[in-house]
């Protein structure tokens, strides 16, 4: 029998409103027809809407790991509330009558099959593979973009050279901006100079170096949004060193690339991404950054506003059950299109994916998948998660510090730690490992996640000893300290989330 869990439906919903609206349709009995195919691979129905005729909605589970949603409604949200409602109706036990699959669904299935075959043929005939784009606006799989589409992309060498030259020009402009900012000194920054800097950041947009543009906006936002000028100065010093390192390393990288514009991007460094390269899944595949048959458990999640990127960012922290590596999903939703892009959510099940794409990165690289299935988390898997925790704080801290010293690295890596106990020294909370090493837990002022340290006081006494904690490290230059912010506690049979 076809099984559709509520969590799977929720994870496909673009946002909470879509979930509520989907449920609303079920509660209001808006579906006038609810059908399921004989072979239980597709559910379809008719839903009453504001149009004159009913909307024909279907969800095709021919590939259970990447259901295909179809609907005749004009909504730009995907999947629409009707497709979600149809699945909720099914999962909540509404009566679905068996019926033959509508001809148009069969036709579309045929088309998809043919397309897949063509792709395979092309793949067979082509050694190098490039990324594809969604093939059909109406039929899209869970993860959205398809990698398997693959006609080798013809690169226009002269255009590429032109682009690299523009990027170099952009970095020169960035140098000038940094230099002029430093000549006047941060102390002279005022509303007027911030507006000039903003204009300059806008100009940087013309040079194909979005990473630099975002970093510069980050610097500007430090002053716009700050009530604590001294703190802003400290952060600005760091941000300027990042900009400088980007400019310096970027120029070297681009100079090399100018000599060989068609050379592959460097899969071992994040520099290309900083310079504006958006890794296509096919490129990751080509670079060998794909893992097969991976089980992942989400240990923490949060969503925040990134004003420098002008995007909402949904970040999930996952553990690869096979390797024990902590990885991150990052879902960027530009402000202007946020309504139409799926908002991620906490996931409590184990996610299985046939192919896991891993971006170049540091300790916690970014990951993506095309399709996935879910199953409940077992106690054995909780034990497996715990077994991956670092037993020695010293070693973990060493790894973290090694990452932090690179100016272009992620400044807030996460790690799993096994602790002997949680104690207090005065008002500070401290993790202690078996060797007696201590690690101070603290919330970051103005941090993106909710405050979590105080929740320790609410936990079970059993959580105070011999447990595993997921922490996010951050360095506070003013306090001269490396702190750990608790995110989750992994018990023998459950993950207790202190954030989301």
């Amino acid at each position: 029998m076809l099984k559709i869990s509520e969590e799977l439906i929720n994870s496909n919903a673009p946002n909470q409103n879509a979930i509520l609206n989907g449920w609303g349709l079920v509660r209001k009995n808006s579906f006038v027809k609810l059908n399921i195919s004989q072979d239980e691979t597709v559910i379809f129905g008719e839903c009453v809407g504001s149009g004159t005729s009913n909307y024909l909605t279907s969800v095709d589970f021919i590939k259970p790991d990447s259901p295909v949603f179809r609907c005749t409604c004009p909504s730009r949200q995907f999947p629409c509330k009707h497709a979600l409602g149809l699945m909720y109706a099914y999962s909540s036990g509404k009566k679905f009558t068996t019926d033959t699959i509508p001809a148009d669904i069969l036709e579309k299935r045929d088309k998809v099959e043919k397309r897949e075959e063509k792709k395979k043929e092309k793949l067979a005939g082509s050694a190098s593979v490039e990324d594809g784009t969604p093939q059909d606006g109406a039929d899209t799989s869970v993860a959205g973009t398809s990698t398997s589409a693959v006609s080798p992309k013809k690169t226009n060498k002269s255009a590429l050279v032109k682009k690299i030259k523009a990027q170099l020009e952009g970095l020169e402009l960035l140098d000038k901006i940094i230099s002029s900012t430093l000549q006047g000194g941060l102390g002279t920054i005022n509303e007027k100079s911030l507006k000039i800097l903003e204009d300059q950041a806008k100009q940087l947009g013309n040079y194909y170096i979005p990473g630099a543009q975002i970093a510069l906006r980050g610097l500007i936002n430090l002053f716009w949004n700050s009530n604590d000028r001294e703190k802003a100065y400290s952060n600005a010093v760091e941000q300027l060193t990042v900009l400088y390192a980007l400019s310096k390393k970027g120029r070297d990288q681009l100079a090399k690339r100018l000599n060989d514009p068609e050379a592959a991007y460097d899969p071992s460094s994040t520099l290309d991404e900083w310079l504006g390269h958006a890794w296509q899944l096919s490129e990751l595949k080509e670079a060998g950054l794909v893992l097969k048959n991976v089980d992942l458990v989400q240990l923490s999640f949060h969503s925040y506003v990134d004003n420098a990127r002008q995007e909402y960012v949904d970040e999930g922290i996952w553990l690869n059950l096979g390797s024990g590596q902590l990885v991150r999903t990052l879902n960027y939703r530009p402000f202007k299109a946020a309504k139409y892009i799926r908002e991620d959510d906490s996931v409590y099940s184990v996610v299985h994916t046939e192919e896991l794409f891993v971006y170049p990165g540091d300790l916690n690289p970014r990951i993506r998948w095309e399709s996935m299935t879910m199953r409940p988390l077992t106690d054995n898997e909780c034990s497996a998660i715990r077994s991956y925790a670092g037993r020695s704080f010293k070693e973990t801290v060493k790894l973290v510090k090694n990452q932090l010293k690179n100016p272009l690295s992620e400044k807030d890596p996460v790690a799993l730690l096994y602790y002997e106990k949680i104690s207090k020294i005065g008002d500070s909370y401290v993790l202690v490992d078996a060797e007696g090493q201590r690690l101070v837990l603290a919330d970051r002022t103005g941090g993106l996640e909710p405050e979590t340290v105080g929740i320790i006081d609410l936990l079970d006494p059993g959580d105070m000893k011999n447990q595993t904690m997921l922490v996010r490290f951050y360095h506070d230059m003013d306090a001269k300290r490396l702190y750990a912010k608790p995110l989750s506690i992994i018990r023998e049979n459950a993950v207790i989330r202190l954030a989301f």
Binding site: S30, Q183, G185, V237, I425, P461, L498
Partner: protein
């Protein structure tokens, strides 16, 4: 490695970032650090690199900004590896609250609740309430936002947070205590109230500590919490004479709860003093017999004074002064204090008052019990009604035809609650026949309005009824109350359409025709009457519902001076009660309407189609 030296250099670099890199060359403070750095560089190569970078910064010429950035980059890279992770001091074990909750509510569900609890603006209560009903609030991550919501300026949110936190049980007490400010305001008083509700007398020492150290509202709340601690009575007695009014009021509340002889004595003392207002609510709550007896005694005296007076001049007797406002007000307060008291002495006194109903009805006073300004006789009757015992009902019913029937509405209500349907009709229908123009008829019809409702499947929630008396009646179980079918004819004759709609029974064709005619004769859009009549017809099983509803909707649109989506939506609530067969008719009707109303009618048609 000389880390403090590096931090010192970083501080100077930071200063130059702020002041401008042009000042870096030959900077005095940086120069001063150079020798020490050079010395350190002899042992550690990384310091030697810093020395090189530092030298470059100090030399004039070249790009100052690049040189300074190079130095900053190098120092930052080193300092990132030097961040301290440990801290000195003795480790203390943590005793956590041990809340037995999991954290299985996802971000999308829990984040809006956190925002609602900690944010500002409208619409927050609904979000929290929905989450509470949906079982999403028993989550460890909501504890602090819920505690923060106890301070919310919107009392409904604070009360809901109180209720949710109570569900966490005794484990939450420790957390509440940690978040408490002994000199805090309302929110902190709520925290103490919550602790008292969960742990009661167990927290004696805590309450005493707050009373000793606390101030303002938190202190008053701690005084209230002593209500379960008889050993604290002396303290409460002292506090009832405290300088601050809040503390005096709180201690009277606690004393009333204790109900000892001394407590009663003090309550009565205050009742007879300047601060009578402070004592009324505690006295109402006090279940001690002593206070009831004292109040009866006081009441007797006041009754006597009132009985001696007349309103204005008596025709055949000598001139008598009316009772003073003070006496009347005192009488009203005494009666108010009787609310909910079941002592036989109180009942006897009220019974005695009733015998003077004719006299008492001359004097009007404002009564909290009645909710409006009313005459004393009615307040006495309402008091007896609140007692609610069979004896009370018997007494009220027995005064029908007495005292010029000034209290016949109460007799009627008592009869409805205690006598057969036939009896009620036989003895009270004559009053109704007099119509709303007579005071008796009006009173009885008002009672009928509150006691008669549609059959359960046709009821709509009236969220706008806040009147105190209506709330009392709403709380009464009316499932055993039956109505004589003869009422229908009388009410129809009296044109009491609303009551007819509610009383009509299945297959009463004659009355249904009457209602159908009424509906046809409504020319102005009157959604209340239309809703009532449609439900009445449905209750009667009227055969051509679609025909009659169709005409009503047509007329609604024809006669409406302006279209109000809100009113139309309100009206269409009743259409959901229509039988399944009406779906097609509604769809046809929808074709004639504008988009908004067509969509609504169409939605209802679909709803009807899905009906079993």
């Amino acid at each position: 490695m000389s880390i403090p030296l590096l931090y010192e250099t970083q501080t100077e670099v930071r200063r130059l970032f702020i002041a401008g890199c042009e000042l870096a060359a030959d900077d005095f403070k940086l120069k001063k650090l150079l020798p020490q750095m050079q010395k350190a560089g002899e042992n550690a190569p990384v310091f030697a690199r810093v020395v090189d970078a530092l030298n470059l910064v100090l030399q004039p010429g070249g790009s100052n900004s690049v040189k300074l950035l190079e130095l900053a980059n190098l120092i930052n890279a080193i300092l990132y590896t030097q961040g301290q992770t440990s801290t000195d001091g003795e480790l203390e074990d943590i005793v956590p609250a041990g809340l037995k909750t999991l954290t299985e509510v996802s971000y999308r569900h829990i984040q809006p609740v956190i925002e609602a609890l900690t944010g500002q603006g409208s619409g927050r209560l609904e979000v929290i309430r929905d989450a509470y009903i949906g079982g999403c609030c028993h989550d460890i991550r909501l504890v602090y936002p819920l505690i923060a919501a106890l301070d919310d300026s919107y009392p409904e949110i604070a009360d809901l947070a109180f209720e949710i936190l109570e569900g966490f049980g005794p484990a939450i007490v420790m957390v509440l205590k940690k978040s408490l400010l002994v000199d805090g305001g309302k929110g902190h008083a709520r925290r103490i109230g919550l602790i008292s509700k969960i742990n009661g007398s167990i927290e004696k020492e805590f309450y005493l500590e707050v009373i000793e150290k606390g101030a303002s509202e938190a202190k008053a709340a701690a005084i209230r919490a002593l209500k379960d601690l008889p050993e604290c009575e002396d303290l409460l007695q002292d506090l009832s004479r405290d300088r601050k009014k809040d503390n005096r009021e709180a201690s009277l509340f606690a004393l009333a709860h204790l109900g000892t002889d001394a407590a009663v004595k003090r309550l009565y003392e205050v009742f007879n003093g300047k601060e009578r207002d402070l004592s009324v609510y505690p006295i109402k709550l006090c279940r001690a017999k002593g206070i009831a007896l004292l109040l009866v005694k006081e009441g007797e005296q006041l009754l006597e004074t009132v009985l001696k007076s007349e309103k204005g001049f008596s025709l055949f007797a000598k001139k008598v002064e009316p009772p003073s406002t003070e006496v009347l007000e005192s009488f009203a307060v005494v009666l108010e204090c009787f609310e909910g008291k079941q002592d036989p002495e109180v009942f006897q006194f009220l019974e005695k008052c009733l015998t003077h109903a004719n006299h008492l009805q001359q004097f009007k006073i404002s009564s909290a019990l009645q909710g409006v300004r009313d005459n004393i006789a009615k307040i006495v009757a309402e008091n007896i009604m609140v007692i609610g015992s069979p004896q009370a009902m018997e007494l009220l019913e027995s005064i029908r035809c007495k005292y010029d029937d000034v209290l016949v509405a109460y007799s009627f209500e008592a009869a409805v609650r205690s006598r057969s349907a036939g009896y009620v009709f036989d003895h009270y229908s004559r009053y109704v026949k007099e119509g709303r123009k007579s005071a008796e008829g009006q009173g009885i019809l008002e009672v009928m309005d509150q006691y008669i409702d549609f059959e359960e499947q046709y009821r709509l929630t009236d969220i706008y009824s806040y009147e105190r008396k209506s709330q009392r009646i709403a709380g009464i179980d009316k499932s055993d109350i039956k109505w004589d079918p003869r009422w229908l004819k009388i009410l129809a004759d009296m044109d009491e359409t609303g009551l007819v709609c509610r009383l009509i029974t299945k297959n009463d064709g004659r009355t249904a025709d009457f209602l159908a005619r009424k509906l046809a004769n409504i020319y102005e859009p009157d959604t209340k009457s239309m809703k009532d009549i449609i439900r009445g017809l449905l209750q009667a099983g009227y055969p051509d519902m679609m025909g009659i509803v169709g005409k009503a909707i047509d007329k609604y649109f024809k006669n409406a001076r302006y279209y109000s989506g809100y009113l139309f939506n309100d009206f269409t609530q009743v259409l959901r009660f229509l039988p399944r067969e009406c779906a097609k008719g509604l769809e046809e009707l929808a074709l004639k309407q504008d988009n908004a109303s067509a969509a609504k009618l169409y939605e209802i048609a679909q709803y009807l189609k899905m009906k079993e």
